[in-house]
């Protein structure tokens, strides 16, 4: 346990430094030539600004504003969408996995192929597709299913979360199905079965916790993938979230502080997962 905390602390410090280094990359290029001294100056400047975040301004049409009080709303909105989509994806994928597992194996294989094909669809196509479906439905029936494009000060939650949930669901579902299969080949399942345990009980009590571990291991990749999706969805649905803020501001300080703020909940989540995994199976 102390090892985990120490290691997490080290990786937190290093990640923060890494994000600041990446955030100051625009200082590295003057025009298109490398400017090493400019980069070093940029990094020191960036560290100074990060310690005094109230100084950061962003430029709207009506002039410069301090970033800070107004940023929390934007940030909260993006983080809500991101994490809501992530947890919904896990829950939905779990339910699907349980359901699929009860099906006969011929159907199972077909579903596996389907989920493989579906998973390859780029997020952009899904977002555009959903947008057009809603517009088309509105034209046909005059019923506006959901607010497609969010207007200023009006936050839509349902459609962005839906778009963001679809791909991770398939991704997690595939990981789950693959690992459930693998777990079933292990000896402890045979032991449980020979003791007369029910099929569903073995799945629920023994196999599923072990497969969830593999989802935890993959969670960093999944969330990274979802961040890119978030960028696309905020652009396509005209949502004013944290990535839109970065896009429109073009200021390295805004970029870095936003990325650091996004880093905090993700990092806490991963550390929590590590601690839980450790308590559960004693794995570092």
């Amino acid at each position: 346990m102390p090892y985990i905390l120490k290691d997490s602390f080290l990786s937190m410090i290093l990640s923060v430094i890494g994000i600041i280094l990446l955030g100051s990359v625009p200082y590295m290029f003057s025009g298109m030539t490398f400017n090493t001294s400019g980069y070093l100056d940029g990094i020191t400047e960036m560290f100074r600004v990060m310690l005094n975040p109230e100084e950061i301004m962003y430029f709207a049409e009506s002039g410069p504003y301090p970033l800070f009080p107004s940023m929390w709303g934007i940030y909260g909105y993006s983080v809500t969408i991101l994490f809501a989509a992530f947890f919904i994806a896990i829950i939905v994928a779990l339910m699907f996995a349980l359901f699929i597992f009860m099906l006969p194996s011929g159907l199972k294989n077909r579903i596996r192929v389907f989920s493989f094909v579906f998973e390859s669809i780029p997020d952009v196509l899904i977002a555009i597709g959903i947008q057009f479906f809603i517009v088309w439905f509105f034209k046909k029936t005059n019923i506006l299913l959901f607010q497609v494009v969010s207007l200023y000060d009006q936050k839509t939650y349902f459609v962005p979360i839906l778009c963001l949930t679809i791909l991770p669901t398939f991704l997690i579902l595939r990981i789950l199905l693959l690992n459930i299969e693998e777990e079933y080949g292990k000896l402890y399942v045979d032991t449980a079965r020979s003791k007369g345990m029910g099929r569903f009980r073995i799945l629920w009590r023994h196999v599923l916790p072990n497969t969830l571990l593999s989802v935890f291991h993959q969670s960093r990749n999944i969330l990274w993938f979802m961040l890119s999706n978030l960028l696309m969805i905020e652009f396509l649905f005209n949502i004013y979230g944290i990535t839109s803020l970065i896009r429109t501001s073009g200021n390295p300080a805004v970029f870095t502080i936003s990325m650091l703020l996004l880093f905090v909940p993700m990092f806490l989540f991963f550390t929590l997962l590590r601690v839980i995994t450790f308590k559960w199976v004693g794995e570092k």
Binding site: I13, F29, L125, F132, S228
Partner: protein, 329 residues
Amino acid sequence: MIKNIWKDPLFIVGFLFVFGLLVASFYHLIVLDNEIYEEQYINNEEGMPIEPSSQYWFGSDRMGADLFSQIISGAKYTLGIALAVSLLRVGLSFLGSFLLWRAGRVMPFIKGLSQSFYYIPSALLIFFVVGPIIKLENFTFWEKAFFEMLLIIAIAIPNTSILIKEEINLIEKEEFITSAKLMGGSRLRILSKHILPHLWSKLLLIYVQQVIAVLLLLAHLGILGVFFGGTTMREFTNEYEIPASDSNEWSGLIGGYYYQLRLAPWLVFFPVFSFAAVILAFNFMAEGIKQSANKLSLPTKVKSKSDRKPSLKLVEKESFVFLSEKKTG
């Protein structure tokens, strides 16, 4: 090991699709002289973005240019960029993994620093760095494209190097490496003779996965309006100009047509759809490589009885010779 993939149906399907697309694209370049058919006759504004029909499979843009031939023409650039960028990514990361191979105590720090890439969407990072530079007027198109490519290559190198290094470490744990070390094999020899033969198939898989990642990144950059292929302004009517892609490169097509999304959705839909199709093809290839690699790791395939019998006959009498009867010298 690599030969085995040609027997895998999934790999072949994916490969044939990509190969066919490239052949069609080069056919379009060499035989049809890269010409895009443009419908000039109905040049009234109502009929102009022609909807998809049996004559225009993917519809046409406001100039009347056929979108299907644009996509075929652009395929070689998009696929070429994706294949070349990923090759450089994997190649440079391969060299990087050698540097990391004996990094020892510095390793946790490098790993921790490169973790920060996992908290930043890569399209946003590239948009953020390249965006202001692309707006500058005093660079040629090729300089900008080259710069953007360099960045796309560079951002993947730290994590890919670590990935390859971990693959090398996995192979290093095998017993035959220990015995090679005991026999006094030098580090370089162990690397080239014992590790590399096992690494190729992993590298191939990493390569295909990188191609998928680059294609996705290109699609994202296209939507954000930062794309290869160059943009020229074409005069539409006397009053205004619309951006058009020079080379019909796909992410350029998406970016150029994005503002016509409401008017003519198919103009954005089909380029994105082409990206989806190619990504699916590469996913098939990746799956095929994984499956054929798995087959090899399980050599204890139970043969049927009819297969086993003739192998008994193959045992030759000469293979059992008493040492006392053995002719020496």
